[in-house]
Symmetry: C2
Subunit: 580 residues, 2 copies
């Protein structure tokens, strides 16, 4: 068969020549006015290891989790220096920012996932993956206990242990219910692909339920009342998606109940999207008001039952009950049990997330790293080191610090204490030496220790913890693999800032987060974006920017094509309402 053999050969060519194929798809996508670029080329510097070093026994690295942090670490880790084993209950990476789109079928679940084995296959296949859940981290014996979550046929072999030289914890977080009663039993969450699929089926169920015979109008209304708790980006995007799904697709096939649908968004703060610029918050609130989405700010949920939730208005303490057909709970992140247990072991039992230093190493351990939503960087305060800094800078031991002496240590300070730069920006100061001016703003030749302390005493207030986002996690994973890959090189030639509280230099530069902006899709082909440089953009054009960025950021060309196809399909045919 000519056609068949032609296609076979073409397919073989594409498999063998991914670059050629990418160029092809790039052209296709460009003609569709989408900015897509290949980011599959790794930018990591690889350390050329000599044959002797290679012959040494490879160090064992165990990675827990295949989310943004874990996958980004795996994409770049140098397998010629490390033996890598990965444990995750899911054998795929999910592009989580598109989860709200999956809840309503704008994008299919399968379009946003990529098998982990596809990702590690590119790394010469020397990374081992086990589909299992980590039950316990045994920091004393350097091993992790895992259990396969495949329930059948394993006999007594379901649990196994892995030993490690280095452990990378990237298990993510779970939903934080703030111990509100009834939430785990009666609410839907939106953290995993399965969650999004469940919500999709349940939305359809609510409509099917509402059109059954023999119900009162009140009952139909209850079935069609969708409540979202949490006015962060995820909750807001889900509300917007749901509104579009109902108005664009469902009302045409369930015309008999189209006037009974209600969407309510409950937010405990005074505004939705309150981590964004306030222009975005008010734009979103206005849009939702026009769309008929009932936004209730300043309300706290006290409990959720099967049929209603009880809400307290924070300002005047009134408590009332709302009947519901479906509640999606989307508020903050909480710690997974395996991480809480590990925190007890390393003396962090009283904290809310696993604390690491600025090099992402878990405090209280030598060889355990934590990335992404399960961890938080405990930024060293400059005031803790103020005496050492002064002493190190005061080269002539005069007891005073001149501007030129200070300038010698400025670079190291800026790297070691990033809050200094944030502080300068917040005070609109151009240069670090401006810090040494006197309270009236006049330049000083030199400062003594007390003047130095008072010049820097407000700096630490600018040390903020990083948000629990995909961007942070991905950058941390890439950073850590870079450190791992350059361990030997940087041992010989350290590249980090000098140690003020000790001698010598840090081996690596600490992790520094670079914010590329964030989006909030608001439905009706509109979105809001906060871009670097305090730029704010809102409206239809921002939605197209969103399409471009999200298409380009896909983890593989496969998912990129699928996601773009899904968007096109939605434009042409609408969303599917089959309950599968």
């Amino acid at each position: 068969m000519t056609i068949s053999s032609f296609l076979k050969r073409a397919s073989g060519y594409l498999h063998g020549h991914p670059a050629g194929f990418k160029a092809l798809v790039l052209v296709t996508l460009s003609s569709g006015s989408l900015i897509a670029y290949s980011d599959s080329q790794s930018e990591t510097d690889r350390v050329g290891l000599g044959p002797n070093q290679k012959e040494q026994k490879k160090k064992k690295v165990v990675v827990l989790g295949t989310g943004w942090a874990g996958t980004s670490f795996l994409k770049d880790i140098d397998i010629s220096s490390y033996e890598v084993q990965v444990v995750s209950p899911r054998n795929y990476f999910a592009f989580t920012p598109l989860l709200p789109s999956v809840t309503c079928g704008t994008v299919e679940a399968r379009s946003i996932v990529e098998p982990v084995r596809n990702i590690i296959k590119k790394r010469n296949g020397e990374i081992q993956f086990f589909e299992a859940e980590c039950l316990k981290i045994d920091a004393t014996n350097n091993q992790v206990l895992c259990r396969s979550n495949l329930d059948q046929n394993l006999g007594g072999n379901r649990e196994f242990s892995l030993e490690y030289d280095y452990l990378v914890i990237a298990v993510g977080a779970r939903v934080n219910t703030f111990n509100t009663p009834g939430v785990r039993e009666n609410c839907y969450f939106l953290k995993e692909v399965e969650d999004a699929q469940k919500i999709r089926a349940s939305v359809i169920d609510s409509f099917e339920r509402a059109v059954l015979p023999g119900l009162s109008e009140e009952e139909r209304k209850t079935h069609l009342h969708f409540v979202i708790v949490g006015g962060g980006p995820t909750g807001v995007e889900f509300a917007a998606e749901l509104h579009d799904f109902v108005q664009e697709d469902l009302v045409t096939i369930y015309p008999m109940v189209k006037d009974l649908v209600r969407i309510t968004l409950i937010q405990s703060g005074d505004h939705i999207l309150n981590t964004y610029d306030e222009r975005i918050s008010s734009f979103a609130e206005q849009k939702f008001r026009r769309d008929g989405i009932d936004v209730r700010t300043g309300c706290r949920v006290l409990g959720v039952s099967e049929k209603s939730l009880s809400v307290k208005v924070k300002s005047h303490g009134e408590v009332y009950s709302i009947p519901h057909g479906l509640v999606v709970w989307s508020t903050g992140v909480g710690t997974r049990p395996v991480v809480s247990d590990f925190m007890e072991q390393v003396g962090q039992g009283d904290r809310r997330a696993l604390a690491t230093n600025e090099w992402l190493r878990v405090k209280g351990t030598e060889n355990v790293y934590a990335l992404g939503d399960c961890a938080t960087i405990d930024q060293r305060k400059i005031m803790e080191d103020i005496l050492s800094i002064f002493k190190a800078a005061d080269q002539d031991n005069s007891g005073t610090l001149t501007v030129s002496e200070f300038q010698d240590v400025v670079d190291d300070i800026l790297i070691r204490y990033p809050q200094v730069e944030v502080y300068l920006k917040s005070k609109h100061l151009k240069d670090v030496t401006d810090l040494l001016r006197d309270p009236e703003g006049n330049e000083r030749e030199s400062v003594d220790i007390e003047e130095f302390k008072s010049a820097l005493c407000h700096v630490d207030s600018q040390a903020k913890s990083l948000p629990a986002t995909a961007q942070v996690a991905a950058q941390q994973g890439a950073y850590l693999s870079r450190c791992f890959n350059r361990r030997q090189q940087c041992h010989e030639l350290p590249e980090g800032p000098r140690r003020f509280t000790g001698v010598g230099q840090h081996r690596f530069r600490p992790f520094r987060y670079k914010h590329f902006g964030s989006f909030a899709p608001l439905g009706g082909e509109q979105a809001a974006a906060e871009l670097p440089g305090d730029w704010v953009s809102m409206g239809h054009s921002t939605q197209w920017l969103w399409y471009s960025v999200y298409a380009s950021k896909q983890v593989s060309w496969r998912t990129r094509v699928l996601v773009v196809f899904d968007w096109t399909r939605r434009f042409v045919f609408g969303r599917d309402s089959s309950r599968i």
Copy 2:
């Protein structure tokens, strides 16, 4: 935004002008060398009812099921004459012939389903659909008892009744386990979309399980032993799909276990695909042998446990046990409980399927029809009516039948007893009157009753029941809606054959199945087909014919585009192995 508003307008245009859009897609598809045509134009003759008739109270029709038969009935039923209510536990129609493709991700589940509400929307939205399971048919009181399968929030309202004037049973069949112990607990089936999705996840699970640490090679082999019971078209196609999935996709990402995978097909008959032409059977067997699929014919499964199945070789009675990782059971069809219960009510308790007459009306009822896999047509035997036929034909009451007298009733005989035509064909007779020749083959002027009887006594052996296929079900649904729509017209002007056992004419022509051929995809881009006129076609070109036919037969343009996209995606990127 110019682009946005352009696309909005384009999308609006497409929604408003489906014909224009179809032409567009048709061009796109044609350029991809696929023969696709629109079959969305209904070919049914509509009866123009006068205003008086319309004002009469509409008769209530309740349809159970939204498979091939039910949907095909709904597509054409005239809603100006009937009030139609549909009850089905699934709110979608599934293109079941592609289910084996869904098991391995060649085609996505969502690409082969179309919401029932989309299908009935085209019928002016006057058909009511309820997502519920029919629990009981109460033939005495003309009502059905249904229960919503949505488990939450319905309080005491989960059950409801619907009254009917006419009932159409099209609930399909369930898997026939032949009461083999352990089958329902330990086997996967392949009848519903959910079944296919479960199999897909389980195949991936088997591979994930097999690569876990600490297993012996024997255990890994067991996990990777896939057993299919039943060598019919479904079982064979699944075996072929699975083999392709493993060889084309899974071995590259699970290279460590690629030599441990085994596929075994167990068939009780002497050949697989034994309802097909024997050239196809042996082609399939040879292809499977080359592919390394272990085909065991002449074996009966005695029981299935969690880890093994016990098999008896029919020829010499030996019983042995096979360890397995996954068993797919695909043998024959059985009766659903609600149908069995109804059969008891109408005195068919001893039968294996609901018997209808040739007009699809359930025997023993006046207003209940049954279509598709749940029913079987009980073809009237010509020998039962032989005296009446002779009497009716013998116009001069001479006690003998001349050739010209016989010719007067031939047309009615051929319509009423289709087995006559099959018999003629099997005996290579050109004309019906050839039946009247004497045993030596010489023409006779006339025959008496005994000669007439002996001429026709072997005819009934050719009355065969129809296969349980989508083609039969769809034709039955279309036939029945045509009858319903022409009820009034055909009451006044009957169009069926004359009644030999009574007076007058039958109102409608009986249902006649027209076989358009059947396919058996065999993997590796090869297929076999049995086409009308005893044509047999095998190989790569047949696979392309299969692609064309299956693309053209999709129920909507949406699913057509999705299915073709899925095939293309599989060619370019392979199948996805994420376990979602």
